[in-house]
Each structure stands twice: as structure tokens, then as C-alpha cells.
Amino acid sequence: MSQDAHLVLKLQAGDLEALGSLYDLYRLQVYRAALAITRDPDAAEDILQETFLRLHQYIHRVNTSLPLAPWLYRIAVNLSYTWVTRRNRWRAPLEDFIDKLVGPTRYNPEPVAEQNDTVRQMQSAIDALPLNQRVVVVLYYMNDLSLQEIAEILECPVGTVKSRLHYGRDNLRHALQGQAQALEVLYEFT
């Protein structure tokens, strides 16, 4: 019997320490996935907490013959989707309004020059991906899940996951090329 199954059975029998042990096993994976999707540490902590409370609430529905991680990811990803969608509903109109009041942010070459670093550029490009693509990129590259596992977590066909990953990669490649060209233009003028 796997360690997951053993702990799930203990929790099903009412042992709350088993919930703590499962949390210790999976907290980083769940938290980092939620953080990469929401980009908000407070929201990621709330999502982490809610994910494990749902595990406790629905523990009798958990099938001990299956691995637990995809179940946890499904809850965390769904909660992250809900959080991002709700935030965008309120934040986007507010940001538009502020832009109209103060004008769009002016191009400032200094921060671009400071970010002369592939990792940072890639991170900001990932943050700028559409939510559907960002979720797939995070689960595939950071959590090392297969396309099949991601499809099961997102409850969509594998083809959809492949397509989102393909467009996500394309967007990242273009974003990096754009940033590289911007830097070259900047260096020509300095």
C-alpha cells in the first residue's frame, strides 16, 4: 500500500494528524502551482488551505487505489481559476479607469536594461500568458505532469492540453524575441 493510501485511510478513520502528514507531503507542490497561476502569495495560501480542507471534507470520496496528487491539483487549479477570474472582473476595469486618469505608463528604458536576464524575462513572459496557457505551462514544466495527467486535472481532452501548450510555447518564444529586439534597439541608442 502506498504512503498516500495509508494516510488517506487513517484520515478516513478520523485521524487528523494524517491530514497534517499529507499537507507536509504535498504543500509545496500545491502552493507553488497556485502561486504560479495566481501570482499572489496570499491567494496561494488561501487556496492551499482550502484545498486541504476540501480533502478533509471529501476524504471518503478519495479512491485509495489512485495517486492523491492529481486530486489535489484539480482542486487547487479550479480554486485558482475562480480566484483569477474574480480578481480580473474587478481589477481590469479599475486599471482601465486609472490608465484613463493618469495616462498609460511611459516607456522607461532603465528597468528593461536591468532585466537583461533570460530567467527574469521568461518569468514575466509566463506571467503575461493567458490563464489557460499559463495553467498548462505551470503544470507541465513546474509540476512535471504528463499531458494525460493535465487533461484529467483540467477535465478536457489531451488535444486541448497539447494545443494550449503549443500556443503557450509560441507566445513565450515571441515574447522573448520581442524583448531581445527591444534591448538591441535600446543598445543602439546608448
Binding site: 491530514l19 502552493y31 495560501e45 480542507l53 478533509h56 471534507q57 513546474m142 510555447r169 522573448l176
Partner: protein, 91 residues
């Protein structure tokens, strides 16, 4: 820069993976989250409802500050939990 321009799929894959891992390397939740989960799970087992951490923060934000007279309603987060638990039990 030129290497980035001609980045192939494998290079791109490595760059994406490395940047995500670099960003998340030190990211970890606050230790209190574990305690909150176990506390709330115990409360739930006893039939008491306990709002999510975000909701608790929100309720703190709108709850009045220290009241300056006895006639004012003084709402605290623990008292809200008790009230919600009570309502949940009777409904």
C-alpha cells in the same frame, strides 16, 4: 541575444523549466497555514463552521475598530466564527 532569437524547442523548454523553478525555489507557505488547516478541520469535525483565511481577513477589514461606547456593535473575528457555527447548527 542571437541565441535567444533562434531558440529551438528544447532550449525553450529548458528555459521555461529553469525560470519557473528559479522563481519558485524559495516560495513556501507560512507555517501558520498548517495550523489553520488542522484547527479548521477539527472545528468542522465538531460541526462548527470556520471561514477561509481570506474571508477572515476581509471580515477584519470591515469590522469596526475599538468601539468608543457600549452602544456600538463590537464585531470580532472569533465572535463571527461562533455566530456562524451557531447559525449553521440551527439551520
Amino acid at each position: 541575444m542571437s541565441s535567444r532569437k533562434s531558440m529551438d524547442v528544447t532550449e525553450l523548454d529548458i528555459a521555461i523549466r529553469n525560470s519557473l523553478r528559479a522563481k519558485m525555489y524559495n516560495a513556501r507557505p507560512a507555517p501558520m497555514v498548517r495550523e489553520m488547516i488542522l484547527h479548521r478541520a477539527a472545528e468542522r469535525r465538531r460541526g462548527l463552521w470556520f471561514p477561509a483565511m481570506g474571508q477572515a481577513k476581509a471580515s477584519l477589514a470591515w469590522s469596526p475598530a475599538v468601539p468608543n461606547s457600549d452602544s456600538q456593535l463590537y464585531v470580532t473575528v472569533p465572535s463571527l466564527y461562533k455566530l456562524m457555527g451557531f447559525l449553521r447548527q440551527i439551520l
